[in-house]
């Protein structure tokens, strides 16, 4: 008998633990009284006719990340939390899968269930059904770090024309205006200028499959075109190994060591695919990390140890999207929630390319290390909470959509404070 009760107590204890743990989560996340705030907002969202207060109503915004860890996630969280008090917003987070629509739909449904008024979603997978959910529940959706290319091309009417979709800030690889190929070429040129005695004359490339990142193939073509244009006049022409469909297209697995045999003469890898996770490890394993250079995108942490002239100097370029670009969907969501609108608000939602931190020298790296992205400290952010409030239509009657769009193009390496 005693044993039986013991067992039952164990189950109840487990239940109690759940409650306790959730308490921890809340207190850790946000100091403001969340329960009253969220229940208020649920009631208020519907009557959008009432006059908005300058600081906006209390509301909750769910943020769905594409991965659960990493610099981008942590610094975005840090930045958003710093905005929480001023904007009167509580943020809750969830993680989406990168390959499973149904799982993502469930995650978004759970977010909606937890009484969010808006969602920032960093993935474009299962979006048609997700937007239907948002429409049904009266929840607004914005994008960040994602080009929503699938939706843009195959479900424009359902997604971009939906009144619940506010638009997305892409991570600089918007297929409409690809610049990454030129950026890579410029970084290569800069490197060769700095290292006139040993310039890079032979490079190879790596990209993710076109179906996932169409911009990368375009970028690669752009890069090849730029090199060809350069070679017409250059004394030391640069050879580019053409993209091998099999070995150079990474199916979201690290490149293979045979890559180096297949590109035996290559001195540098121009990786449009995320290099620190998919290219660099293999370089270290094959022992070519000091003899070859890597030009790539993204920052996972630790790249600075071998960047430029530091360490083995493998990394010569990387590109990062500023976390502050999250203000684009955030401001648009807050406008909707508060029933305000810019005077120049476009009729349909847009996808806007964010300018990138292009880091291709020691100085750039030093500058980057001061950014909100790197330090995960909102005190280093380019825009303060008050700045963000001033971007909204309800917080600042003079604010315009054009200004908001303009802000995205300011987020370059030079603008880091």
């Amino acid at each position: 008998m005693k044993k039986v009760w013991k067992k039952i107590t164990a189950v109840l204890l487990a239940g109690a633990m759940t409650v306790l743990a959730s308490g921890c989560g809340n207190s850790g996340g946000n100091a403001s009284d969340s329960s009253s705030a969220s229940s208020d907002s649920g009631a208020q969202t519907s009557d959008s006719g009432s006059a908005p207060a300058a600081e906006g109503k209390a509301c909750t915004i769910g943020v769905a990340f594409y991965t659960d860890t990493g610099f981008a996630v942590d610094s975005t969280k840090a930045y958003l939390e710093s905005l929480s008090d001023t904007l009167n917003v509580k943020f809750t987070y969830t993680v989406l899968t990168q390959t499973d629509e149904a799982a993502n739909l469930t995650k978004i449904q759970e977010l909606i269930s937890s009484n969010v008024d808006g969602i920032i979603c960093t993935m474009d997978l299962g979006m048609t059904s997700i937007i239907q959910e948002c429409e049904a529940a009266g929840v607004y959706l914005g994008g960040y770090l994602c080009d929503y290319d699938t939706s843009f091309n195959t479900a424009y009417d359902q997604v971009f024309k939906s009144e619940y979709f506010v638009g997305t800030a892409t991570d600089g690889q918007n297929p409409d205006d690809v610049t990454i190929g030129n950026t890579m070429f410029e970084s290569l040129m800069e490197y060769n200028e700095r290292n006139g005695d040993a310039p890079i004359t032979h490079v190879s490339m790596a990209i993710f499959p076109t179906w996932a990142f169409p911009a990368q193939q375009i970028g690669a073509d752009q890069f090849v075109a730029a090199v060809e244009a350069y070679n017409e006049t250059a004394e030391t022409p640069i050879t580019v190994d053409p993209l091998n469909e099999e070995s150079d297209v990474l199916a979201f697995a690290p490149i293979d060591t045979t890559y180096f045999a297949k590109h035996a003469d290559s001195q540098a890898i121009i990786s449009f695919a995320a290099g620190s996770a998919f290219v660099y490890p293999t370089m270290v394993q094959a022992g070519v990390d000091s003899s070859m250079k890597l030009f790539t995108t993204g920052y996972d942490g630790g790249e600075d140890a071998n960047f430029g002239t530091t360490g083995k100097g493998t990394y010569q370029q990387t590109m990062v999207t500023a976390v502050e670009s999250v203000t684009y969907p955030l401001v648009l969501l807050l406008n909707k929630i508060n029933g305000a609108e810019f005077s120049d608000q476009p009729a349909e939602a847009e996808r806007i390319s964010t300018a990138q931190y292009v880091i291709n020298s020691d100085e750039d790296m030093a500058q980057f290390q001061k950014s909100c992205f790197y330090t995960k400290d909102a005190a280093n952010a380019m825009y303060t909470p008050q700045d963000v409030l001033n971007m909204t239509a309800y917080g600042n009657p003079d604010a315009t959509y054009a200004d908001l769009k303009g802000i995205l193009s300011t987020m370059t390496i030079d603008s880091i404070k």
Binding site: G70, D74, E246, A253, D256, T258, F260, V284, D289, A305
Partner: protein, 335 residues
């Protein structure tokens, strides 16, 4: 004299598998134009040796950890999760102290601690081992989000001075240690002998006077050592992200094929040798597939699946084959 002849015969028999693999892959790659760069066959390069050694070492460490438990009658699901969690902890400590040796020590200690926790829950809970270790896998995976701020460990492997145990010749140190720990435990310690007794007749073993709980603990300590060593190799070769949803079992499963093959190949000699040889053979195959650009993606999975099934199906027929051979021998004798 007869004995030494036997050993040589056994070694040759065991070595047949990788040699066969090498020849098969050589023929396939040589016949495929994709595998030539400037007229040179990429399969036959120094890189082959290096890659095969590095990857085999990794495989051997994990396979031994799995096999040690299997051999003692337990299928430990949590090995992968312990390894990943150990890797993250050891990698971070190693990074902080800037010392791979410290990382190695921390890995071994963490491996032992985690294994002991698993053993403790198993013994206290008296749970069926698979269910128990599924639970522990979930727990350890969840902890990967709680240590080092959920960042995992990324740059340990990518710094030449910290990742010495991931490359030649450093990788040989943990591998040799793991093999030594395995051999010491199975063939020399009292606990290993007792474990063998228990795995063959659990109840009789307990009745005779073996303290099963103590034995489980000791076995887990040795497993922990090997898991720690596997973890240091792993973290020296890979970036390790936090895991969830029993994904670590997938990481572990990817090393399980050599275990089964190894024990079969090992019939000709002994299990450690079998596992090592199976690992080498598998890595030769993998390298060949990479040369053919089949090393990743859909085809690799399908080839792997067919390979597993084929090998298993073959090894499951050994009794039939033996019976057939015996019959033939008999027939030959009588004739």
């Amino acid at each position: 004299m007869k004995n030494s002849g036997n050993i040589i015969k056994k070694i040759i028999l065991s070595a047949v598998f990788p040699i066969l693999m090498f020849v098969v892959m050589l023929i396939i790659t040589a016949g495929n134009e994709k595998c030539y760069i400037n007229g040179k066959l990429i399969f036959l390069s120094a890189d082959l040796v290096r890659q095969v050694i590095i990857n085999s070492c990794m495989t051997i460490c994990v396979a031994l950890a799995i096999w040690l438990q299997l051999k003692n009658g337990r299928f430990d699901f949590s090995g992968g999760a312990s390894m990943i969690l150990t890797a993250i902890i050891a990698g971070n400590v190693g990074l902080m102290t800037d010392s791979p040796v410290v990382a190695l020590l921390v890995a071994v200690i963490t491996g032992i601690v985690l294994s002991c926790v698993t053993a403790f829950v198993y013994i206290i809970g008296r749970l069926p081992i698979i269910i128990c270790t599924i639970g522990m896998t979930l727990l350890y995976e969840s902890l990967t989000y709680l240590v080092s701020g959920g960042q995992g460990i990324r740059i340990f492997y990518s710094q030449a001075h910290t990742s010495v145990f991931g490359r030649i010749p450093g990788v040989l140190i943990p591998t040799v240690l793991a093999v030594a720990a395995f051999v010491l435990f199975t063939y020399f310690t009292a606990a290993g002998r007792k474990g063998k007794v228990l795995s063959n007749n659990q109840r009789a073993g307990v009745n005779i006077g073996i303290d099963e709980k103590k034995n489980v603990f000791v076995t887990y300590i040795f497993t922990g050592i090997i898991i720690g060593l596997a973890a240091i190799v792993y973290v020296s070769q890979h970036e390790v992200a936090p895991q969830s949803g029993l994904a670590t079992s997938g990481i572990m499963f990817s090393y399980i094929v050599p275990v089964f093959m190894g024990t079969f190949i090992g019939l000709a000699s002994c299990d450690v040798v079998g596992i090592a040889i199976a690992a080498v053979g598998m890595e030769i195959m993998n390298y060949g597939l990479n040369c053919l650009n089949l090393g990743a993606g859909g085809w690799q999975q399908i080839i792997m699946g067919i390979f597993v099934l084929g090998f298993y199906a073959f090894s499951a027929q050994t009794d039939r084959i033996q019976a057939f051979m015996a019959k033939r021998k008999k027939a030959a004798k009588s004739a």
